[in-house]
Amino acid sequence: MSVVAEPEPEVEPESQAQLEARFQAVIGRKDRIEPRDWMPEAYRRTLVRQVAQHAHSEIIGMQPEGSWVGRAPSLRRKAILLAKVQDEAGHGLYLYSATETLGVSRQELTEMLISGKQKYSSIFNYPTLSYADMGTIGWLVDGAAICNQVPLCRTSFGPYGRAMIRICKEESFHQRQGYELLMTMMRGTDEQRAMVQESVDRFWWPSLMMFGPPDDASPNTAQSMAWGVKTHTNDELRQRFVDMTVPQAKALGVTLPDPELVWNEQRGAHDFGQPDWDEFWDVVKGNGPCNAQRVAHRKRAWDDGAWVREAALAFANSENGETSATSATSKSNESNQSNETGTA
């Protein structure tokens, strides 16, 4: 059920209050808010921020894995990895589309990404240093992402929730592929086993950071939960992730690099140590090992592609009988001097 949208400025204060009450009632029933429904401006802003950040994470996340496609050590793994990175581009597409229903275009969002106005998941500011990372990213990073994302399948905004159902299915597939790569490597040579352990050591703590700061340092959580945008706190999801991962690590034969990690019989859950939150904030602020590189890569690809997007628009307009094809292009004369992509 949903209420009919009306332009916000024409709404009288009384009916504004009514709209808000009806909106909150939809949330209370755990129904979906749809793009044409009235919604508080702050709800819209929160969703744009969250969905865009998610979309950007998919697109930036293509880089650390994409850089290993050319070096994949078997043709089967090359196919798996390339198909996975391709799926991430697809996830970015669904999510940008969901954001467009909130009135912000893909171009605007991309520009906010490359200008640093919008963020993406900090995990992608860590480097990929061996092929084992392709497995570890699948197992731990995609695993953490799934813990974060599965509850979002029931998030209050319809297009986001529906996109998440599809995305979660594919993420789950990726996670299994990643785990299977690690399992295969663990059955290989000593060098391969060492490579897996080193990779897990490097990604464990950043994976825990993916759930965000501890609840007492997460200012947006309460409002997001009241709106049904978020359904679990950061610490709840982090606990769930640790409890799921420990038996998987054991089956794999790797050690998780946390001396405080222990099963707590009383709680029915694992106790575990805290990541270095100073490092977390440092990376969030832009000082991670790869922040500058990731954004520069995205900016270069976007700028280098400007002439192609302009050509497509001009061609479409000429096919539609319009004479001034350039009138529709809103940006980027600067692109003409950009480098050619892909030359060795």
């Binding site: 196919a79 391709q86 940008y96 002439w307």
Partner: protein, 320 residues
């Protein structure tokens, strides 16, 4: 130790569980129908297995090398739709390469590089990762660097027009495996050619900038075009045996297709001569000379192969 599933109250959450199920069948590429299931893999009468294997390497290397190049676009394309499309084409070609390399190995195991005893590396990977650059038999058109998006489109148009015509004939091969690989590939290559043809037209008639880049890209590739229609001795022998295709025989058909795209795009055929071979003489087997089919490549090929092979070669006993 807790059961993984006891922490999952929501039905959606079981996307995450099942990870510990010891089941190899869900891995990508293993739970799909085998495209060669039920296909007769015996080498047909009157066909020299070594020649057949070399021929399979030629067609397989064309696909592998271009796939490697196209995969370089991953995360670099002009927009997400093109990123996805270029990955699709790369994946199709990689699939073709795997079947053809496996066929080469099955026909003549002596062409598969030897590795230390007990190495679990499968034949397709031995061929892809443990041959040196000069043992690759791909045409040079497949290996040159991507250039910009326009040059990439021009290459896909040329390559897929040629390979589609070749595979249409190859689908009647006396070798049941090659026939099956070609029949599957025809559908893929039809899409590749269509994708490239539409973009070729778009760029030719889009903006001055796109047209300038397209013409430059086509000019850069044209020197490699004639090589695709020169008949190597191995191609001649397999064609005579009814298992391969003589590329000279498809030249007129391919030319007509390309001419049509050029005409509708208002693009003239480049006035650029073919690129010479590398040895300054005809090849020692009386073949087309020292070009891609003989393992004589461009400088960029070696660097590309080095990147492709670096992890695999560091772990000759590794399993992935």
């Amino acid at each position: 130790m807790p059961d993984v599933r006891t922490h999952e109250p929501d039905e959606h959450d079981n996307a995450y569980s099942g990870l510990l199920v010891n089941d190899a069948h869900w891995a990508f590429g293993t739970d799909f129908e085998d495209p060669l299931a039920g296909v007769d893999t015996t080498v047909p009468d009157g066909v020299d297995p070594a020649t057949l294997a070399t021929y399979c390497l030629m067609l397989g290397d064309d696909a592998l090398v271009l796939s490697q190049r196209l995969a370089e676009w991953c995360s670099n394309a002009p927009d997400l739709e093109e990123d996805i499309a270029l990955s699709n084409i790369a994946l199709d070609l990689l699939g073709q390469a795997r079947l053809l390399l496996a066929r080469a190995a099955a026909a003549d195991g002596s062409q598969v590089p030897a590795l230390p005893d007990g190495s679990p590396v499968p034949d397709e990977d031995r061929l892809a990762f443990f041959r040196d650059g000069v043992q690759f038999r791909n045409v040079r058109l497949a290996e040159v660097p991507n250039g910009d998006f326009a040059q990439t489109i021009a290459r896909i148009l040329l390559f897929s027009s040629w390979r589609l015509a070749l595979f249409e004939e190859l689908s009647h091969s006396r070798d049941a495996v090659l026939a099956a690989v070609a029949a599957k590939g025809v559908k893929e290559l039809t899409y590749h050619r269509d994708f490239a043809g539409r973009w070729f037209l778009t760029l030719a008639r889009g903006t001055d900038e796109s047209r300038r880049r397209l013409l430059a890209g086509l000019d850069a590739l044209w020197p490699y075009w004639a090589e695709l229609f020169e008949t190597h001795e191995v191609e001649r022998a397999t064609a005579l045996a009814g298992v391969g295709v003589d590329p000279a025989g498809i030249a007129a058909d391919v030319d007509a297709v390309v001419e049509q795209v050029l005409a509708v795009s208002g693009v003239d055929r480049p006035a650029v001569p073919p690129l010479a071979g590398v040895q300054g003489s005809k090849g020692d087997k009386g073949s087309t000379g020292s070009k891609g089919r003989d393992g004589r490549h461009t400088e960029a090929h070696s660097r590309m192969i080095a990147e492709m092979q670096v992890v695999a070669r560091a772990h000759p006993r590794g399993q992935w």
